[in-house]
Amino acid sequence: MSTETSTWATKKGLAQMLKGGVIMDVVTAEHAKIAEDAGACAVMALERVPADIRAAGGVARMSDPALIEAIMHAVTIPVMAKARIGHFVEAQILEALGVDYIDESEVLTPADEAFHIDKHQFKVPFVCGCRDLGEALRRIAEGAAMIRTKGEAGTGNIVEAVRHIRAVQSGIRALTAKREDELFTAAKELQAPYELVAEVARTGRLPVVNFVAGGISTPADAALAMQLGAEGVFVGSGIFKSDDPARMARAIVQATTHYDDPRILAEVSKGLGAPMRGIELGTIAEADRLAVRGW
């Protein structure tokens, strides 16, 4: 019988398997092991966590393939890696390495200010960031098999993540309340393909899995994202910039599973030491914000 690899169902399906879980940024094989032991459902292989990228400045690029391979060898859970927005050659390299998912990410410096990667051309699935429903649907139209709201990476501040997941969720709710003849204009306003807009209006959900990213640094933050409609969370700097990364990682995993049970959230939040210090958003100049990258 015919067998087809890298189909839409398998691309989207891997994200479905990650649901209810925590995807953790890691910069070494040792970090990757700590993440896996804590119960991460996948890791994101990076040279620097977003907080350090932010501090270092300059151009942030795809990580060294040797580092990504070392992390792939260290763990059995899926390994993701980041390519710059529009940098389809970095994506080709990551696909050649055999990573399980590519994040076309605003955390790295964009390589193209007009065009995102045509993700349909790849066998490896992509996750992309968004700030609202229109942006999510534009990325899905380009072939993203998973979406994450952007938040503001490397700040340890949940406020932008909350803004973005609320924007996506309320955008979806607004569509479901529209008459069919109103969806054409809705598509125009969302700057998204009509077919995807109509599908969201009909099903009341995005056609792919949606996680929350950018600023999660405590178990309560993770649970907040989940209660607002996330299907799982990405934690970047929040784990390895905290006092006790293994403990914080375990607690965030537990909180993501039991996001709706405040007694358990209280239990897992006890005695974790200091979370990452964090940055108040008002102190970050518009030009230094990562979430505005991409369109």
């Binding site: 019988m1 015919s2 067998t3 087809e4 690899t5 890298s6 189909t7 839409w8 169902a9 398998t10 691309k11 989207k12 399906g13 891997l14 479905q16 398997m17 990650l18 649901k19 209810g20 879980g21 896996e36 032991d37 804590a38 119960g39 991460a40 459902c41 996948a42 792939m72 059995t76 859970i77 899926p78 696909e95 055999g98 990573v99 399980d100 998912y101 349909h120 066998k123 490896v124 699935p125 899905i140 139209a141 380009e142 072939g143 393909p193 009509y194 077919e195 995807l196 599908e199 056609p207 995993v253 537990q254 993501t256 599973t257 039991h258 049970d261």
Partner: protein
């Protein structure tokens, strides 16, 4: 008998998809995160997800003893992908077994990484002539089958991807992602028979050891057209972009 409830382990993974399939076959799916959630369930589903993450969450909240106890009493269980790994008596990469009730050796990520994930049609004679559409995602495979394990399906190359031993049902692929309901209906029938022996098969059988359920040998074909969301959604996305 009150409305049947089937538990779906919901610590991580694609549990919502199983609850949806159960709803389609007219059964209540109960998300199981804590031992108290197991109250009153007639069967259990262990979904796909990351088995390494799931095993830690199972142990953190004490789910292992009560689930082992249910399985020891023959409560029917269905594991898909990671769920199949959790049920295996032996896991080849050295991970300790979690609920060792299925006499098989399992190889994790047997086909490779995500780039090797695939879809194919499978013959599952127990479910009738209509093929089962198998979605395999970083899937495991059954590397050894014990003497009392029934092989339900193999790939063309002979590798075993669906098995049953008594009331334990397991697949390396994801029926819940392919609009397939027959495995869930089989589980529901096994659960009904376990809860009320004889109601389905017409005679009392030892609950944990019946190899076939006479009432279930020819499960009617899924009335709903199989949704292969992939090509359509992708085509839509492309046409629109």
């Amino acid at each position: 008998m009150t409305a049947m409830k089937i538990g779906v382990l919901a610590v991580q993974g694609a549990f919502a998809e199983h609850v949806d399939v159960l709803r389609r076959v007219g059964v209540d799916g109960v998300e199981v995160r804590l031992p108290s959630d197991l109250e009153g369930i007639c069967g259990l589903i262990l979904p796909g997800g990351e088995s390494t993450a799931m095993r830690k969450l199972i142990d953190r909240w004490g789910l292992r003893p009560p689930i082992l106890d249910l399985l020891a009493h023959g409560t029917p269980v269905f594991g898909t992908c990671a769920g199949m790994i959790l049920l295996a008596r032996h896991i080849l990469d050295g991970d300790a077994p979690v609920f060792p009730v299925l006499d098989v050796d399992i190889k994790r990520n047997a086909f490779g990484r995500q780039l090797d994930s695939f879809e194919t049609d499978l013959h599952v004679p127990l479910l009738g002539d209509l093929p089962v559409h198998g979605v395999f995602i970083r899937a495991p495979v059954v590397a050894r089958v014990g003497p009392t394990v029934e092989v339900l399906s193999r790939l063309d190359d002979g590798r075993v991807v669906a098995v049953r031993e008594g009331n334990v049902l397991a697949t390396a692929f994801h029926p819940e992602l392919a609009g397939e309901t027959r495995f869930h209906r089989l589980l529901v029938a096994m659960a009904a028979d376990h809860a009320e022996p004889g109601a389905v098969s017409g005679r009392r059988l030892r609950p944990s050891r019946h190899r076939t359920l006479p009432g279930m040998t020819a499960i009617p074909a899924d009335p709903a057209p199989r949704t292969r969301t992939g090509p359509t959604a992708e085509a839509e996305g492309r046409a629109a972009s």
